[in-house]
Every structure is written in C-alpha cells, then in structure tokens.
Point group: C2
Chain length 324, copies 2
C-alpha cells in the first residue's frame, strides 16, 4: 500500500487540530480518477467543519478541503473522459471521507472537469465550490434572466465575487453589498450599484433606487436576518436564493402577499457546471479573485484569515511541494 | 342613483358587526360588467377580515365576500367577452372596495369567466377563490407533474378538497390529512392515502410509506408549524407551497440540505384559470363539495360554522332573494 501526506483534522475546535500525517493513498475504482493535487482553496464550510458545526456528518480523523486543481495521475478502467496527464479542477463531495488537504485525491469522473486552459492551478483552485455554488444559485435554481436585477449580498466574498461576474455575464443589473474598502473590487467585477455594508441600509437603498419596485432576485450568502429583511426588496413573484443554513427561525411574513419563491441551496457536484464555467473563464467573463496564497502547511493561518471575515476573494492553498 | 341591498361590515370583531343596508349600486365602467349575484360562499379570509386580521388593508364600512356566481346585467362599452344574460363566476379582488355579500357586483371583465354549464349557481359559487387558489398552488407555482406525489394538508377543507381533485386530474399520487369523520369524503375526491389528522403523525407516516424518500410537493393550507415539519417529508429538490401567511418565524433548517424550494402564494385573480377549471368541471373531474347552504342573511352563522373548523367542503350563501 502506498502512502501520501495529508493535513488531517484530529479533533474539532480551533486551528491546532490539524496534523501532518502519512495516510493510505487511495486507488481509483473503475469509474474514478486519481489526481495529484496542485492547489486547493479555503471555503467557509472548511472552518465550519473544523470547529464542529457538522460533527454529525463528519467522522474524525478527517481530511477537509473541497476545491481541487491538479493533474490526473491514474484512471480506472471504465473512465472515458480523462487520461493520465490531464489538468482538471473539481470539488470533492462535501462531508466525504477524503478532501483536498492532501497530496492526492480520488474522485468519480462525473464530478471532475478539464481545468480552464488560461488559468494556473492556483487560480483554478478558486472556482469549483464557490463559482459552482454561484452557478447553482443564479442559473439552475434562481433562473436569472437577461434584463433582470439581482441583489448579491457580500459581493466581495468567495461566492459573491463569482456571483457578480456570473450575473453580469447573464445580462442582469447587479446590486451588491460589501465593506467600503472593497467597493472598487466589486465595481471591477461588474457590480452596477454598490451598497455600503456598514453605513447604509440595503432595504432603504433598493426601495429608493427602484421606486419601491424591488429586484427580481436576491442571493443570500450571509445568513442571520438576511432572508427576512431581503423579502422587503423583492418584486412580486420574485425569488430569493439562500445558501446559508441557519437553525434560527426565519420571519417570512412579507413572502405571501408578494407571491415570492425561496430556493434553499446546498450545492451538488457535477461536471456540467464546471464545463460551463470553463467556457466563461476562457472567454474572460469570469476571473479569480485571490485574497491571498499560502502553502498548505499554513492551513491554520488560512482558516483564521477567512474565519475572521473581511477577505476579498479566495484564500488559496498551494499543495504541490508544500507538505514536506 | 340606484341602490342595492348589501350586508355591510360596520365594525371589526364578532359576527354581530354585519348590517343589512341600502348602498349605491355601481355602474360598470367601459371594461367592466355588472353582475347580479345569485350565490357566494364563505372563505377563511372572510372571517379573518371580519375579526380585523387585515384591518390595515380594509376600510370600514366594507362589503366582504370573495366568491360570485351570477348573471351579467349590464356591460361597459368596451367589454368584448360577455353580454347581458351570461352566467358567470369569479372572485372579486381581495380587500377591494366591494365584495359579494350584496345584490350586485361590478368587476373588470379580465377576472370574470363563463360559469360551468353543468353547475347551479349554488355549486359554482364554491369554486372561484378556493379552486382558483388550488390551481395557482399546484399548477402555476407548484408545477405538479404526472407521476409525482403530493401531500395536501387539510384535504377536507375549502382549498384542500379542490386540491385533491386537481392533483388527481394531473396524474399525481395524493396523500392528505383530515379528521377521521372525513376519510370517506377525501377518498371519494381521489385521495390515495389518508392520514388521520388527530391520531397519526404525518411526518412518521409518510417517511414510513415512502421508505424515507418523501413526496415531491407539499401544499400547506394549515399554517402553524406546518412549513417546518413538512420539510421533513419532501424529497431532495422537492417543493412546498404555502397559502397561510403567518407572522411567527418559521424553522427552515431542513430546507438547505435537501435543496428545497418554497413558494408563498397569495392567489391573484385572472380569467384563464377559471376557464381551465370550467373545462375540468364540465368533464366531471372537479366537483363542488358543499358543507352547507344558508341564505346570506344568516352570514353570522355561516362565519361561525367555518371559523370553528371541521367543515367538509364549502359553506355556500344564497344571495338572490335572500336580502329582503
């Protein structure tokens, strides 16, 4: 049995729970590919899992990490779409047994896609989970249409920064909220109207700007009271898409009178959306927003950086050569 | 100015607030029809409005009532679809200035439809609001598909009894909840699986019967904790449709992990759905379920009957000849 190095989470809690260990290197089954990981990136679900928010779903010790850009090192006998040497990017299934904080990963070929040719592995590792989530929210579930308007909460965040670009590529008018220091960033990404997260009230701003008509769609990447308050800025028969699961009961009273629809999203993994994103990336309609790049052995600092909030774009972790 | 008799609500509160009065008879504007009302029926929104739940939307004195079956007595100069003598049925706009507890009603022709030819006015007055709501929930918003399964809460109620029949006409498998004494009724309407509202737990029953898979769609006509609990019996990517607006915050935690969609419905009025219902009624795929028939001057008793719960189908009020 071959071994590989991985940063293994040994206990739930603070960032000291990661340990560099040697663990068995998986063999690809007939429909699987074995990928040497070049880069990964940190998502909110990583630190939420680390601190124990999903302890009912995750068995320790566990290898976290849900973004991969890398190169195919071996393929199962039934694999048709990939060959050894292909550069690929994808998101491992959430809460699965093996994540991306490791030298290698084995995945069903149906969730793997060719890496965009115009991106480095560091850049490509920003996309799978966050941009794939934005895709499911705006395309698959929210069905944003050309000419519609959308409010994207936290536009400088991991999902938000892709959602702005995607909404723009879809021909929508984009409102977004962020901190003042990120206003230029979200403008560059394509936001039409930027609302100061701290100093302004988005309900008041959008009511005023749309003459009380509201927007067609709201994307909630924030949680808290965002669902309840956002219902006030959606037009009749409009939609809200939420990706932040919260146990707190939500106030929905505004939803009935306006015939609203709320979509709850826990993004699934499949190749088609990664292929669609690749197309947009290669046309330069989607680009990575990188907050910082660190080696994987600094995962503790990377978690802290994302967890404390205020990042602009993705925190990327370089894997290849960073686990010795 | 001509006068007409109406049962006017003079104060919010108990059923003593209705007074028989003579009020101005409206003239139809160019796109309106004047209808002599033969029958109306009582809906939950009637007693909710009477007791003051919507006092921010309703100005007193007011004429309540949101179902009409009657005969066109005059038409405005631009009316194209109707002529004097046509039998029609429709639902006046909710919270409008004039309702159906009166001898006459004036309406825009776009919300009026020809009455099904195989129904009496008493029967036809059961349909517009309740069956129209069922239509919006299952067809327009819920998009129930042939072969899908649906849980209809309170299947013996006004909306529920039409929803069962409509779901059946659409080719769906119908679960419903009701009191034991109405089990035979909902079976006759087409329910495939009846759950005792009192003695059984619908979450447990449906989990067991579907081997944990859940139903495709849930229709909540009940309120309370029905949204939160029903999320447990919907399949991944399934839908819930709710028509009961409630101020109490709702627990939604189950919705994210299963990628659910929730549609909130406040039913709009338009002719197309009444025409569609007429087609189904005339093919005997939809029939009225009448709990009781009373003259309009017994509106107090009618409200009490519906408000106390446990009715089977609609409480109809005869109007023609009942206001002298």
């Amino acid at each position: 049995m071959q071994l590989m190095k991985a940063l293994v989470l040994t206990r739930f809690g603070d960032v000291d729970g990661f340990e560099l260990q040697e663990v068995p290197k998986q063999e690809p089954k007939p429909h699987q590919v074995l990928v040497q990981i070049h880069a990964t990136s940190v998502n909110a679900v990583d630190y939420q899992t680390r601190r124990g928010d999903y302890k009912h779903l995750v068995k320790l010790p566990a290898i976290l990490g849900v973004d991969i850009s890398g190169v195919v090192e071996a393929v199962g006998e039934s694999v048709k779409q990939f060959k050894v040497g292909d550069a690929v990017y994808y998101s491992p299934q959430l809460f699965g047994d093996f994540g991306s904080y490791a030298e290698y990963h084995v995945a069903d070929e149906q969730i793997v896609a060719k890496k965009p040719t115009n991106l480095s592995h560091t850049e490509a590792a920003c996309f799978p989970l966050a941009a794939g989530t934005a895709w499911d929210c705006l395309v698959t579930r929210g069905q944003l249409q050309v000419g519609e308007s959308v409010l994207i909460h936290a536009g400088a965040g991991g999902v938000g920064s892709f959602a702005i670009q995607l909404a723009k590529a879809m021909g929508a008018y984009v409102f977004t909220t962020c901190r003042a220091l990120n206003h230029n960033l979200v403008k560059k990404l394509g936001a039409d109207y930027v609302i100061d997260y701290i100093g302004e009230d988005y309900v008041e701003v959008i009511q005023r700007f749309t003459n009380g008509k509201g927007v067609d769609l709201v994307l909630d990447t924030v949680g808290g009271d965002t669902i309840g308050r956002s219902l006030n800025v959606i037009r009749p028969y409009g939609r809200l898409v939420s990706i932040v699961d919260i146990a707190t009961p939500q106030s929905l009273l505004e939803a009935w009178g306006k015939n609203l629809t709320v979509h709850f999203v826990f993004t699934p993994q499949y190749r088609a959306k990664l292929d669609a994103l690749k197309y947009l990336i290669e046309r330069n309609q989607l680009r990575p927003v990188i907050d910082s790049v660190m080696p994987l052995n600094q995962v503790a600092q990377a978690h802290q950086r994302l967890e404390q909030g205020g990042t602009a774009g993705k925190v990327v972790l370089q894997v290849l050569g960073c686990l010795s």
